[in-house]
């Protein structure tokens, strides 16, 4: 398939996800996009493995307290596409995905900052009771999102495909090893972020239990999910029993 066509398809995938991520998220995730890129480029297997690797890192990257994470769509699309096209592995895909997605994030933030213009126009439409006008602005926003992602990916792939392949093939072994190690550790960042969100001293035992279940008992994740659900119910029983008996004691002492 000629590069232009591949670039076009990748651009459409990215553009569609660019809008969808604000509407119905899930389809923009690297684990989904990876195989789709693989399908476009004729190697679903690699797409799946690369998508999984990128997903592990981006899984926990949320926009917390104003900090925008690297863009998840370009990470999945460009990371996978460049890697497959250069015949590189998941670790290299990640090494491309990260800087590319950080740049994409900056552009996205820039565009959303400019969207303040939509608000001001909407204000004047509201004054006139112009419902159709507000609707048009709203859809214009969506179109912009589609176009931004389409262009970012289409242009990057078309222009960068060979350059990136050359760079990847020129990476010396020691650097490759380092990138490989990095790709193994980077998921820890996402998990650390998740911990930061969920952290409460009282919940530490459950963190430990989850770890022990996979490391020592070697349970698959689904099993851990089931056990966690059971633990959550027990936790609820224990904490509510305490609250109920405290209330009862308070009653009798009064």
């Amino acid at each position: 398939m000629p590069t232009v066509v591949t670039a076009l398809l990748l651009g459409l995938l990215a553009g569609a996800n660019g809008v969808m991520q604000t509407m119905w998220d899930g389809f923009e995730r690297p684990i989904v996009v990876g195989p789709l890129v693989g399908l476009i480029m004729g190697d679903v297997g690699s797409g799946l493995v690369i998508g999984a690797t990128i997903e592990l890192v981006y899984m926990g990257l949320f926009a917390i307290g104003g900090a925008q994470p690297p863009d998840v769509i370009t990470a999945g699309v460009l990371g996978t596409a460049f890697a497959i096209s250069a015949g590189a592995g998941p670790a290299e895909a990640l090494a491309i995905a990260l800087p590319a997605s950080m740049l994409a994030s900056t552009l996205w933030i820039g565009m959303l900052t400019l969207y303040a213009g939509l608000i001001h126009k909407a204000d004047s439409y509201a004054e006139e009771g112009n419902v159709k006008g507000i609707g048009r602005l709203h859809f214009l926003g969506g179109l912009g999102m589609f176009l931004l992602y389409f262009l970012m990916v289409f242009v990057s792939y078309l222009v960068g495909k060979d350059a990136v392949a050359n760079i990847l093939n020129a990476i010396p072994q020691w650097l490759q090893d380092g990138i490989s190690v990095a790709s193994g550790v980077l998921p820890a960042l996402g998990f650390a972020l998740l911990l930061n969100i969920l952290w409460r001293g009282a919940l530490i035992p459950y963190l430990v239990l989850g770890f022990v279940l996979v490391v020592y008992l070697e349970l698959p994740l689904i099993a851990v999910a089931i056990v966690s659900a059971a633990m959550a119910l027990l936790h609820d029983q224990f904490t509510n029993k305490k609250a109920a008996s405290a209330a009862a004691e308070g009653g009798t002492n009064a």
Partner: protein
């Protein structure tokens, strides 16, 4: 406010419009245009003069931002309030007061916990070459969001303003949130133990014996280094070091460590 049975036909515009809440998102007022867009059909039906409509539209262009799935709860209450022509200020107050809690709850019950679990399992299956994990993720994740949206909308629209007092006194929300956090944090523990890899290839030679550092570490606790790395990054995040800096730091340390023959 009397409760009234809401028909699917009445709910439908709110339901589908809620899907595109964020396509005009901006930093200035975030979901404002989107929220206005969701409410527009109800407003047009209820307010027949241009002056009234304009005032209501403007009211809904005020700053608004919340979780797009649990937002449906707010659509229902506000729609019910508009139908009974509640004052502008009252509606604005309800929106302002609900935004935050609804977002927190939604973020925990959709993103932080269920999505993480579904993605974790999908990745685990994908690593074994099994693409069904991806389908499973999409089906389960969608399976959670659709009912959340529909039933929150139905409940709050039918109950109207009265739903707020029911919700405020309820300990149920805290308990559900807490339960979700238990599941979430346990899963993160599991993910740390299975999806992070960091091994030391360093060996110390002492005469004839070769000490493999990794074996020693594994003898203490398997996956000890992944845990250490995660907790180090956790600590760094607490110290407000930025995500991007930490990504760079990981690369630098990894590359340096690999070159020095420590990691591998």
């Amino acid at each position: 406010m009397p409760e009234h049975k809401v028909t699917t036909r009445e709910m439908w515009p709110l339901f589908w419009r809620g899907f595109i809440l964020q396509i005009s998102w901006s930093f200035e007022r975030m979901q404002a245009i989107g929220f206005c867009y969701v409410m527009m059909p109800v407003l047009e039906q209820v307010y027949k003069t241009k002056k009234e409509l304009a005032a209501r539209l403007k009211n809904h262009l005020e700053f608004f931002n919340t979780n797009p799935d649990t937002a449906y709860f707010i659509y229902g209450v506000v729609a019910a309030m508009e139908r009974s022509k509640q004052p502008l200020g009252a509606i604005a107050a309800v929106k302002a007061g609900l935004m935050g809690p609804v977002a927190s709850l939604g973020d925990t019950l959709v993103y932080t916990v269920p999505r993480t679990i579904a993605l974790g399992i999908a990745v685990a299956l994908a690593q074994q070459g099994n693409i069904l994990g991806v389908l499973l993720f999409l089906v389960v994740y969608t399976g959670i969001k659709l009912p959340i949206r529909w039933f929150l909308l139905k409940w709050s629209y039918e109950t109207g303003l009265g739903v707020l007092s029911k919700v405020r006194g309820s300990a149920l929300i805290t308990r559900v949130s807490e339960a979700a956090s238990v599941i979430g944090i346990a899963m993160v523990g599991a993910l740390i133990g299975s999806m992070v890899s960091l091994n030391v290839v360093w060996e110390i030679q002492s005469g004839e014996t070769v000490l493999k550092i990794q074996e020693i570490l594994d003898g203490i606790v398997p996956h000890l280094l992944p845990v250490a790395a995660t907790m180090l990054l956790f600590w760094a995040l607490r110290k407000r070091i930025s995500m991007n800096r930490l990504i760079l730091a990981v690369f630098v340390v990894a590359i340096a460590g690999a070159s020095a023959g420590v990691f591998g």
